[in-house]
Subunit: 150 residues, 2 copies
Amino acid sequence: MSSFFTDPATLDHHSIDEGNILAPRFDAQGLVTAIAQDATNHRVLMLAFMNAEALRLTIETGIAHYYSRSRGKIWKKGESSGELQRVVELRVDCDQDAILLLVEQQGRGAACHTGRESCFYRIVTNEGGTPALADSGEPRLFDPAEVYKS
Amino acid sequence: MSSFFTDPATLDHHSIDEGNILAPRFDAQGLVTAIAQDATNHRVLMLAFMNAEALRLTIETGIAHYYSRSRGKIWKKGESSGELQRVVELRVDCDQDAILLLVEQQGRGAACHTGRESCFYRIVTNEGGTPALADSGEPRLFDPAEVYKS
């Protein structure tokens, strides 16, 4: 896997930040952070992680693959739910430890396991100095109990 | 600091995912991931991290505060460059380990330390099966050498 990507240790700081070589800076767990954004309405849908294999699979197939930290394996997003993400464009940030995926959300259009379009469906409030969450009222596009039953 | 936020260990899975209590799931390093998105043009500007103090300061002041892992301290974004971020809305994701900030980028409008609006200014290409980066041509809004000279 490692031969697909340049090792960032072989590049200087300036080349990582400004160059044209993809050299992902995987962390001690072998992961980079990945943000999925809807390519059409520009909503931030979810945040997840990729290891080298997930990033390579995403680049090669044009379908978003992540690494599930809880399950300890590659996670082809939507494989069980049908909510695949077709990658329209892939970007990397300046220091190459984060990936931005511009995607077309397939299936029912729900990136979130709760059945909502976006995982970021709750707004942080701070009434009277006490933080709390307000539901933005985003509808469920599927019933998780139905979709994720064994 | 910890008393400002509910300890997620006191909540069940469903309450974390669907409830109205803010209980950030800080990782082993005490951090959650934070995505800054421009509230007007919806571009994803940058990805950073927050510890409990940075998140509390962000909520209380309405100005984005992060935690600098390299410097090991609170990072009031734009304090040295002038590129502050005014928070229009703060959201949390389903499992409460990621924060989305909708911001008005102040100063010259550059979130990235390279002087560009967004840190995600390079596009991943895969011509002939070899990944590389293409500059999207985003202009520099400031000269980093000028802004960050000590």
